[in-house]
């Protein structure tokens, strides 16, 4: 069985976001990490490797430095890695990104493609389902459990909704988007780390993409365009008081609620 996992290098927003003195986001100062949902997807793939001997290939699209997350994935146990990087692919929205990644995936054999539900930088959750559409394969989003029947060539997935879950069966090949709740990703092994830096990463550029039109990549192939981007203007703070007593504190709030006619 062959499993391809799509991963993304993202700035870590969890450990506190860094701002420049002028108040804009300091992306350079933030740690670059493997996107958490993607890591859960990789872990799910590695479990299929443990269980069925699946071959796991990780694919990422990004700047050359995204090589780092591929090596991390190999140190965790991935077998092969592909980096899609090319100047002409830059500035892509989710449509162009998914079209690009689909072009790379057409070169690979796969029974299962796993992506994270969403990346913590864009939070769109769109690229996974969009890749599946470009490749004309079924998608099951928001996976919390994955079971594979190799003989029947089907997967059974616990698919989460707000107030319920479905157990969904799909034919392979199939794309699954993973929630970080899916599992607890394993650590890299020391031997794995050592080895990962000697391993080959396949690097593909625009010309290696299969069946992708120039009009469907990069900034030019992106239907959506940014009109305005800004770091969020914080809502101005109101009053802050340090009352002399708890009694005074309660009176202060009561007074404000009455003033605003809440009571």
């Amino acid at each position: 069985m062959k499993v391809v996992v799509c991963i993304k290098q993202v700035p870590d927003t969890k450990g506190g976001v860094k701002f420049k003195p002028d108040g804009t986001l300091d992306r350079g100062a933030m740690l670059a990490i493997m996107n958490p949902d993607d890591k859960a997807g990789l872990e799910a793939a590695l479990r299929l490797k443990d269980q069925y001997g699946a071959e796991v290939t990780v694919v990422t699209m990004g700047l050359p430095k995204a090589d780092a997350v591929l090596r991390e994935a190999m140190a965790m146990g991935a077998d092969k890695a592909v980096l899609i990087t090319d100047r002409v692919l830059g500035g892509a929205d989710t449509w162009a990104t998914s079209s690009t990644i689909a072009g790379a995936l057409r070169n690979l054999e796969y029974d299962l493609i796993i992506t994270g539900r969403q990346a913590i930088d864009g939070d769109t959750a769109q690229v996974g389902p969009q890749i599946s559409e470009h490749l004309h394969i079924p998608v099951i989003s928001y996976a919390e459990e994955i079971k594979v029947d190799e003989n029947a060539r089907t997967v059974e997935v616990k698919r989460q909704f707000e107030d319920r879950y479905h157990i969904v069966k799909a034919k392979m090949p199939c794309l699954i988007t993973a929630l970080s709740e899916l599992n607890e990703p394993r650590y890299m092994t020391p031997g794995g780390i050592f080895e990962a830096f000697d391993r080959d990463v396949t690097v593909w550029g625009r010309n290696d993409l299969k069946d992708v039109d120039d009009s469907n990549i990069g900034l030019k192939g992106s239907p959506t365009q940014i009109a305005k981007a800004s770091d969020k203007v914080k809502k101005g703070a109101g009053e802050k008081v340090v009352p002399e007593s708890d009694e005074a504190a309660a009176d202060y709030i009561l007074g404000k609620l009455q003033e605003k006619k809440v009571v």
């Binding site: 769109t124 479905h166 703070a237 709030i253």
Partner: protein, 348 residues
């Protein structure tokens, strides 16, 4: 593709088990405004399901002028492929200029798949929608297009905000965060024109089979519907101590909600969580009690009309967004406030 062939504002009217989701009504409210701004009179709801035609009246009451109904057994429970086929076929046939979809577990699966199929842009999880020019200001050598859908959304866990347009493709598609847009006051007895449409459903390899549906019944009040929210964070100290918040909520006819830390500690269920990974709320009054105010939390509540914060740490970031901040011990202040409110209400 002639962009001018695409007309009107459409919404995907999500229903589950034959019941309209709140987001459908919220989208109708917003669609009315947008339709006005592009001089389109009609708002169209696209209703997909099996035996759901009866929902058309409710959609009309909340602002739909027309309902396109695709009623087919293939659409009984949500599955990506038949729903994508239905919605994409409706787009091909009826050519909307704007299509809004809820950013729900269904919409965030359906939206991207449809946008790929019909080849148009999709902006995710929007919190604001306007009609305006693109580019916003004239740029030399670039045509400035008017009456474009400008879709605003937070990114980077709520740290940045971007406004996106889709000037060259139609429909302009957005998924919209639940709880952000306002539904209109229902017009009782309103009727919509109902158009039956069925593109035909032929099973293919993309069809999935639902083996089991397990509903996770929740007794919890809908925090997105609450006018007053009494929200607790890790500073509340223990699950038992939420009692003082419940007492306060009771006096004010409010609802208790919480921060992510509280859910992660297992004190309260996820349905009660406010924030980026929880729910977006905009009540009239939001009490942030023992909540430090991480940016992910603030992203989910900053649109509240009045924010009252109680925290013992005077440097807590919650004070940066609070209208009324009190530095002090919540264990003392909250019960006192409840008592004083009771007295004030009894005196009336």
């Amino acid at each position: 593709m002639a962009l001018t062939d695409y007309k009107g504002v459409f919404i995907f009217a999500q229903q589950v088990d034959g019941e309209l989701s709140n987001i459908a009504l919220e989208l109708l409210g917003k669609a009315k405004d947008l339709a006005n701004d592009i001089d389109e009179k009609k708002v169209t709801a696209v209703l997909l399901g099996d035996g759901v035609g009866g929902l058309a009246d409710k959609l009309a009451e909340y602002g739909a002028d027309r309902v396109i109904l695709v009623d087919d057994p293939a659409l009984k429970d949500y599955r990506t492929e038949p729903y994508t086929h239905a919605l994409a076929s409706v787009i091909d046939e009826f050519k909307p200029e704007i299509l809004l979809v809820g950013a729900t577990a269904i919409g965030r699966d359906l939206g991207p798949r449809v946008s790929s199929r019909v080849h148009t842009g999709l902006t995710a999880d929007c919190t604001q929608l306007d009609i305006g020019d693109f580019p916003l200001n004239p740029v030399e050598g670039q045509e400035q297009k008017h009456k474009q859908l400008l879709m605003t959304r937070p990114a980077f866990g709520g740290n940045t905000i971007a406004t996106i347009a889709c000037p060259e493709f139609r429909p302009q598609m957005a998924t919209v965060r639940p709880g952000v847009m306002q539904k209109i006051a229902p017009i009782s007895g309103a009727k919509a024109e109902v158009v039956n449409y069925n593109p035909g459903f032929a099973e293919n390899d993309c069809y999935t089979e639902i083996l089991k549906i397990v509903k996770e019944v929740s007794e919890i009040e809908d925090i997105q519907a609450a006018k007053i929210l009494v929200s607790g964070g890790r500073g509340v100290g223990s699950p038992e101590n939420f009692k003082i918040l419940e007492d306060l909520a009771k006096v004010l006819h409010g609802t208790v909600s919480c921060s992510r830390a509280v859910v992660d500690s297992g004190w309260k269920p996820k349905d009660m969580q406010v924030g980026q990974t929880g729910k977006t709320v905009r009540p009239h009054v939001y009490f942030a009690i023992g909540i430090s105010g991480a940016i992910q939390h603030v992203a989910g509540m900053e649109e509240s009309d009045i924010i009252v914060a109680i925290n013992k740490d005077e440097n807590a970031p919650i004070f940066d967004v609070a209208d009324y901040g009190v530095v002090g011990d919540l264990n003392k202040i909250v019960p006192l406030l409840t008592k004083k409110l009771e007295a004030a209400l009894a005196a009336k």
